[in-house]
């Protein structure tokens, strides 16, 4: 008997089962996602910088010159909001399609399918980190004073990553089952743009709606990032608390939906 059975891989699965294999798979898929996004374009990653830059310029012109909004350092203020918003929209939009656009990962080989979602979110985390890193010099140029509180920025980006991952866990299998989810999500994101303090100050929201309004975790992340960059302050406990509660709820809901829909995924693709 020359054949030794690998007992730790009982019940099927890939050859080198276990944590290291799954880590390798997640990282290689994230890397592939990231590469694919910027393949076949001359400017590559720099395209993703053009979008927030163009928005910032247009919004600054419209709001500062035409509407005479009274927010100090408006350009930097709006850019920070945009960067947070972009991580959320791009991250969840790609999380939404990550299973549908990689059917072979579901139908050809068995691996825990949440790794596909995780790798998509990780690819977007990398994108967001690079975007922030590249725009920080511009923010400084716009008058932002870099302080020690900047060290808190990774925490904010990490929390947003968890929000993106939690949403994607729900959206990816739902979109595999009901393909209209991509249309629905597009509308949700369009509404979301105006439900977040990207182009207006939160203080303009009428007082009786203010509390409900302030429960939006993306708004809290925007305000937190602005505290760090514009006021050299740590985010408030309220802001971080809301975000942490939202992260927990979103990941729990995402895990439940994913768990429910995962067994039939191969048949939906």
């Amino acid at each position: 008997m020359t054949l030794t059975l690998e007992l730790e891989t009982c019940g099927g699965g890939a050859v080198r089962s276990g944590f290291m294999h799954y880590l390798d798979v997640t990282l290689i898929l994230a890397q592939k996602d990231f590469k694919l996004r910027y393949r076949n374009s001359v400017l590559g990653f720099f395209w993703s910088l053009l979008n927030p830059l163009a928005y910032m310029i247009v919004l600054t012109i419209v709001y500062m010159m035409l509407m005479r909004v009274n927010i100090p350092n408006f350009a930097a203020w709006v850019l920070i909001g945009l960067l947070i918003w972009r991580f959320f929209t791009v991250g969840t939009s790609q999380g939404l399609i990550c299973i549908v656009s990689n059917p072979s990962l579901v139908t050809k080989v068995y691996m825990p399918r949440y790794l596909i979602v995780l790798s998509s979110s990780l690819a977007n985390l990398l994108g967001a980190v690079l975007e922030f890193a590249i725009f920080i010099p511009l923010l400084i140029l716009l008058g932002v004073i870099p302080g020690v509180v900047l060290l808190f920025l990774p925490v904010i980006i990490l929390l947003e990553f968890l929000i993106v991952f939690g949403c994607s866990l729900s959206l990816a299998p739902l979109n595999a089952k009901y393909r209209d989810f991509s249309q629905i999500w597009e509308v949700v994101l369009q509404l979301g743009f105006f439900l977040c303090p990207i182009v207006y100050d939160e203080q303009l929201v009428p007082a009786r709606f203010r509390f409900a309004y302030s429960l939006n975790p993306i708004s809290r992340l925007m305000e937190s990032a602005r505290d760090i960059f514009l006021h050299q302050q740590l985010p408030t406990t309220f802001d971080i608390g809301i975000v942490c509660i939202a992260v927990t709820i979103l990941i729990l809901i995402g895990a439940a939906i994913f768990h429910l829909l995962e067994p039939k995924l191969a048949e939906e693709l």
Binding site: G11, S17, H21, I28, L36, N102, P103, V109, Y110, A266
Partner: protein
């Protein structure tokens, strides 16, 4: 000694969306009613019923039967990609992913990048993959094209790449679904040689094929499926003969 692979009384059901449209008018009405919130009824379709299979270590099995008889579905259940509605699939060893056409590369990545991604998915570590990459590309005969985008390769070349990566994995059981029929003669011969080597190493192959000669060469036993049920199961020699007779019978009598 437990079986390497055991499929015990497995049933698999698919739901087929079903709209009753018999006349042209029905079709038009049906199209209209879809817009106006149609009722969808489903037809149940049993892709597999009461299927059993047992495979001891070092043995291989062939799955044969006409198109749509449930061979690929069974392979997917063995691969744990789908779950049976009833019954159990037990695997006491490691599985290589299902090898079939269109394994799912990304056309926009290069041959080398695709090879690494799929090697890692198939269970080879990234470090090992870097070491073995040249072997894989050499086996596939694609060294010259390693920096070409995959979409510029022909289907046959893509299958060669997929196959070459898969045979580098150290699985106990290989699941092969018609993958061999695409490569050219020389590559097929290379693959068969690799299969013989697997057999010598005591690895098992679950082979879906319409090539009875291939089944007889590599598999000790064969399962003949028809409309999702077992028609015959036993030594490959005998079962392939049955299948050949069954498929020739009606054709001959028609003439």
């Amino acid at each position: 000694m437990p079986e390497l692979l055991e499929v015990r009384d497995v049933w698999k059901r698919f739901k087929i969306p079903h709209e009753r449209r018999t006349t042209v008018l029905d079709h038009i009405a049906g199209a209209a009613s879809v817009i106006g919130g149609a009722r969808h009824s489903y037809e149940e379709f049993w892709a597999l019923r009461e299927v059993n299979l047992a495979l001891r270590a070092q043995e291989s099995v062939g799955l044969i039967g006409p198109n749509g008889s449930g061979k690929s579905t069974l392979l997917k259940l063995i691969a744990h990609v789908m779950k049976p509605d009833k019954g159990k699939v037990v695997v006491n060893g490691s599985l290589a992913p299902v090898l079939e056409l269109g394994i799912g590369f990304s056309g926009d990545l290069t041959v080398r990048e695709n090879a690494i991604v799929y090697g890692v998915i198939m269970g080879i570590s990234r470090a090992q993959m870097r070491d073995r990459l040249h072997l894989i590309l050499e086996f596939a005969g694609l060294e010259r094209f390693q920096d070409a985008l995959l979409r510029n390769l022909s289907t046959g070349m893509q299958v060669r790449l997929a196959f070459s990566i898969a045979v580098e994995t150290d699985a106990d059981i290989f699941l092969v679904d018609e993958a061999l029929s695409v490569g050219d003669q020389a590559f097929q011969e290379k693959c068969l040689e690799r299969f013989r080597e697997f057999k010598r190493q005591g690895k098992s192959i679950v082979l879906v094929s319409h090539d009875m000669q291939l089944i007889k060469t590599f598999c000790e036993s064969a399962l003949y499926l028809q409309s999702g049920t077992e028609k015959a199961y036993g030594p490959s020699e005998e079962i392939t003969q049955k299948y050949i007779e069954a498929s020739q019978g009606p054709a001959n009598s028609n003439r």
